[in-house]
């Protein structure tokens, strides 16, 4: 049965090669820090919205896509962590406009910021995501309808959202996300450290770890 031997040996070699490649690739990824060393300046910009005390000792930087389901699902958990450590933990928000068309929705959030309503606007959009993102396609008109329900000057919102400065801010965030190797959303950095692998538990562990320092 030489043919059977040939087949089994070939299959074993293929699978071994695959396993080695996976191991090698995983080890290499763990050695990286998501572009942080090369581009530390890209993590936090002056324009980035901050939630929490400016002097907090631990900073979560979250790259968020308001149309991303996992972002919406994890957001309450991040808020909960902030509530647990009001003195020591803060959130810096960066945008990763990965769904085509979501940049227009982000522009609405940034326009709401000019009425001091950024967080209510963002939270309203995340909570009603399914309504304005049917089949993963952001619908800016539906998003506008959601925001009409949270006490905003809608005429001013429309004017502000068209401001090129806001488009520039979103473009800067998108460029920084690329520099830092943010490929999926949400992506978290805790005091500049990326998650070892994606998950809420990993985020909590990293935050606890940083809080325990000093």
């Amino acid at each position: 049965m030489k043919q059977k031997t040939l087949f089994v040996v070939a299959l074993a070699l293929l699978l071994l090669g695959f396993a080695l490649a996976v191991l090698f690739q995983t080890a290499e990824r763990e050695g990286q820090d998501g572009g942080m060393t090369a581009h530390p300046e890209a993590l936090v910009r002056m324009h980035a919205p901050v939630l929490g005390r400016p002097d907090a000792k631990v900073t979560i930087v979250e790259f968020i896509d308001p149309a991303c389901g996992t972002c919406a699902a994890l957001y309450p958990a991040v808020k909960e962590m902030l509530a647990q450590h009001p003195e020591n933990l803060r959130l810096v928000l960066r945008y990763a406009p990965y769904h085509p068309g979501v940049d227009q929705v982000i522009a609405l959030v940034e326009a709401a910021r000019r009425q001091d309503r950024l967080w209510p606007a963002l939270e309203a959009l995340l909570a009603t995501q399914e309504r304005w993102t049917p089949n993963h396609r952001p619908d800016v008109e539906q998003a506008r309808r959601v925001l009409a329900g949270i006490d905003l000057d809608m005429a001013r919102l429309a004017t502000d959202a068209a401001d090129p400065a806001i488009a520039a801010l979103i473009a800067q965030d998108a460029a920084d996300a690329r520099l830092l190797g943010v490929e999926k959303t949400p992506e978290f950095f805790v005091n500049g450290r990326p998650l070892p692998s994606f998950g809420l538990k990993q985020l909590e562990t990293l935050v606890e770890d940083e809080l325990a320092r000093r």
């Binding site: 031997t5 087949f7 070939a10 085509p100």
Partner: protein
Amino acid sequence: MNVRTDNPLSAAWLLLFLAWLVAATATLSALFLGEIVGLPICSMCWYQRIVMFPLAIILPFGLFPDLDRRLIRCGLALAVPGLLLALYHHGIVSGIVPESVQPCRQGIPCSETVIRWFGFVTIPLLSIAAFTTLVALLGAALHRSRS
């Protein structure tokens, strides 16, 4: 590991075996690039995966317990459309197929080149190479196994 190639049956067996080797290598490579390296997978790539992955699974059934011509025919039924898809995909990447007829949506354009080895080797080109080899090997196997 001496497989007799003088016998027409053995030659056909070996050709089918090589075809399986190509399909299995291509399948594992595609899974590696997509799942482990995390490259984006456009819709054209998915269509090619649809025909490549089954080849890696069904071809061994034509090798054992004895050479089965029907599985070679089955393999060709998958490999030929695969080759056409790969050629079309390469056409999109190299700009021969115009932008307007691109079937890709949802943020990952098929025209995007994510890998370029040695200056010219792209994933669609690798796909063409794999499917061409498969069609040739399977065609030869079918021919050699004619009794």
